[in-house]
């Protein structure tokens, strides 16, 4: 079991997903694969309401942060232009096959 998320139960959390999306939600449940059951889900940046309850697959989760209830500015708007988009965790190199093609060609000569 992974009981280290237990302290976050029924609290507001920030979730950063592997695709770079950032959510705010209440954590209602979890399991050892970090599958999360969350409710009252909002987008962190534009504060858009996403859904009432959601089951989030563990493999989609990068980070979970506990929102400080004392100085909670999570609902304060974030300047959308000033915020760089979060990257995903895949680090895909564009046209990688072209690069390797060139390497292959240079070896052939």
């Amino acid at each position: 079991m992974s009981p280290i998320l237990k302290e976050y139960l029924n609290k507001r959390v920030v979730i950063i997903k592997v695709d770079g999306q950032c959510l705010i939600a209440s954590l209602n449940g979890f399991d050892k694969n970090t599958n999360l059951f969350i409710s009252d889900v909002f987008n962190r940046i534009d504060k858009e309401f996403i859904c009432k309850a959601q089951l989030l697959r563990g493999s989609e989760i990068a980070l979970v942060g506990l929102i400080d209830s004392e100085n909670d500015d999570s609902l304060a708007p974030i300047d959308e232009e000033g915020v760089p988009k979060l990257k995903d965790t895949r680090n895909i190199i564009e046209n990688e096959h072209v690069i390797w093609g060139k390497v292959y060609d240079s070896k052939k000569e």
Partner: protein
Amino acid sequence: MLFFSFFKTLVDQEVVVELKNDIEIKGTLQSVDQFLNLKLDNISCTDENKYPHLGSVRNIFIRGSTVRYVYLNKNMVDTNLLQDATRREVMTERK
């Protein structure tokens, strides 16, 4: 399980974790589990202006699978001892 034990010895030390999405977070290691999920306390992003997403957050849980590096201070780890231990672990697995 060796690195699980290793990280357990680092609890309460300050570390910097780099994630695969290039975010770097500094914080005090609070706990670790068998998947090397990490829990950091008193966090600060090394580049605060760039990532205000964690503005009102002090305590985070990082899924082990998204960690790229954990930066440690040189004096936190005895590399010779660790190398020895990794070899011993491999040997016991073979038996």
